[in-house]
Symmetry: C2
Subunit: 342 residues, 2 copies
DNA sequence: CTGAAAGCGCTTACAG
DNA sequence: CTGAAAGCGCTTACAG
């Protein structure tokens, strides 16, 4: 199943393979009638260039990698990632790049993976998810050292000089908590993300700032850590309950859903007894009972922007470090009790 | 950033590049001390072979593609796909293959995608999700014609001679509905998957067979179609309600969750008024209230097996068409009312 | 505008 | 067991 080569096409048309190559790559300086004839033969024969040969000759693969250093669980437990991946895939298709997907859960995975996630592998550049423990940290570090075009998704733990893209987590959390405060809640608690991740840290910081600015004392018993899973939110809420919060800001919707379950089991009511605000605006947020007030991220667009940033770096050389910070919006539904209070 | 080549390593060791190549590829017939010296230099220099060159010379990329012809919505709405993808990625890592991810939603996507999903692209073989409308059908057909090693995930609509892997959907549905029947329910309804997909058809068939064998008349008003989304299950249940079913088999958990919401809104109780059985055993199934009785698929293992089948075909040539059918198991929780009835 | 030629970094018979 | 050589299918200066 060898398939046609450039040479075959060239012979059929009666030109050199340089010319066919120029036509295929859309270079100017080809006489118009020649171009037409070449195009026609390509059409007729269904010729497609061999990607490996092209890559070898041009040192460009038009393929990027998405590296998700994740433990098994959270990847398919949180709807965030599929959606994000979708955005990435869509943008790749648009920009005519091939997407390689690399999930690393274990240390062993990392070792097998690394050679492939490099320029010697097939890649022109890589997108790596920030955070997620040791695997993630070390992988990112090695990637930076390898000096392959790189965009970190989410503020990196260390400001290591790589470009990154993130949403404005602190600001978003600040807005959410301020909203609760304005509604008159006094004892506002929070279920944070992992303290080892910058998402966790930044959203927590937004919470703290809002509390302070609004003149609320921040009590330790009102702050507890979750792990971005439903179960994590559930247990976190159980820990929060004794502190008698009248409102809770959860750092993700899926944790808010878990919290809701804990509240229901305690025979309390959302929002009458405890108001709730989440983060992400996953599809489930609009379907829960009560519907979840939350911070909407434009996850799809986020993925698209990440790819655009990366391909820009690939194609236009080493620009100074770039950061892109995306805005969010608060979506007010039922769980914060805003309607009730009017 | 050229990096080291085989030649560089060969020079450093003082052998030909043929020898280094043999060592890298683990060929026998290399004197042991030579092998050691080569290995050491590779270690020291951090040499990794250039994948494009390797692919061009050997006509093998060790890369496979996962093609998901999907509309935007269902991919991140149903936890099934992330989990499946995870299994695929894990197996690829294990078997030392690179995974390319291709999501096609629109016709335009398909056109841009096709050249890359072929041997001329980078791929040694492809895994394509069966069904999902026109895009999927046509893509699969073109893939078959291109004669690239191919495994269809899920029984194909047309028995076109491609290898495929699937779970035993009809059998699983049969078991689930028989279970409801044994519990004494009389008016058992079903929310099917799309009639255009083989999953939809096969699970429906299992339902019909169980009903018939158990001497239940199948009433049209007890069968309605969903689209594997929460909202789809919700509306389907609303359509079913007037028929007064005392039990419902939903062809996916996420639809069962939607159905539950509709039942709750109608001020009815699961399982007292209407018993419910789902399909998939997604994480949410164990967290819903009441917990969902469902058919468990070993999705991760399913993904792994799919990759193993494909790589086997790639590496061992055109075997006769292969089919792999995987078993499922019924997980009895609360929503079917089994416990209540004892 | 077009072609001949070198080169990308490997693998793989073929000799020895 | 080892090396010299051809070849994989392109791109890209370099001439003209």
């Amino acid at each position: 199943v060898a398939g046609l080569t450039l040479e075959d096409v060239a012979r059929k048309v009666g030109v050199s393979r340089s010319t066919v190559s120029r036509v295929v790559n859309g270079h100017p300086h080809v006489r118009d009638d020649v171009r037409q004839r070449v195009l026609q033969v390509i059409e007729e024969t269904g010729y497609h260039p061999n990607a490996a040969a092209r890559t070898l000759a041009s040192q460009r693969s038009r393929m990027i990698g998405l590296v998700l250093p994740r433990t098994v669980n959270s990847f398919f437990t949180d709807p965030y990632f599929p959606q994000f991946t979708q955005g990435i895939a869509q943008a790749c298709n648009q920009l005519d790049y091939t997407l390689g997907l690399f999930l690393a859960g274990t240390r062993e995975d990392e070792e097998k993976l690394f050679p492939r996630v490099s320029r010697r592998g097939f890649l022109d550049g890589v997108l790596v998810q920030s955070g997620h423990g040791q695997i993630g940290e070390r992988l990112t570090e090695r990637l930076i050292k390898s000096s392959i075009p790189l965009v970190i998704v989410g503020r990196p733990t260390q400001p290591d000089g790589a470009s990154y893209i993130d949403v404005d987590n602190a600001e978003a959390a600040y807005t959410a908590v301020s909203h609760l405060s304005r509604l008159g809640y006094q004892r506002i608690g929070t279920i944070t993300g992992p303290a080892s991740s910058t998402v966790g840290i930044d959203r927590r910081e937004g919470y703290l700032r809002a509390m302070t600015e609004r003149g609320r004392a921040v009590e330790d018993c009102l702050v507890t850590e979750g792990d971005f899973t439903e179960a994590g939110g559930y247990y976190a809420m159980q820990r929060l309950l004794p502190a008698r919060p009248d409102a809770v800001f959860a750092a993700s919707d899926i944790m808010a859903i878990g919290a809701m379950r804990a509240i229901r089991e305690a025979h309390l009511h959302v929002p009458n007894d405890i108001a709730l605000v989440g983060f992400d605006d996953i599809p489930l947020a609009a379907l829960s009972d009560p519907q979840l007030t939350t911070v909407r991220q434009h996850v799809l667009q986020f993925g698209i922007s990440a790819v655009e940033l990366l391909t820009d770096i690939i194609e236009n050389g080493l620009t100074p470090q770039r950061r892109i910070i995306m805005a969010t919006e608060l979506v007010i539904r039922e769980s914060c009790g805003a309607h009730r209070r009017r």
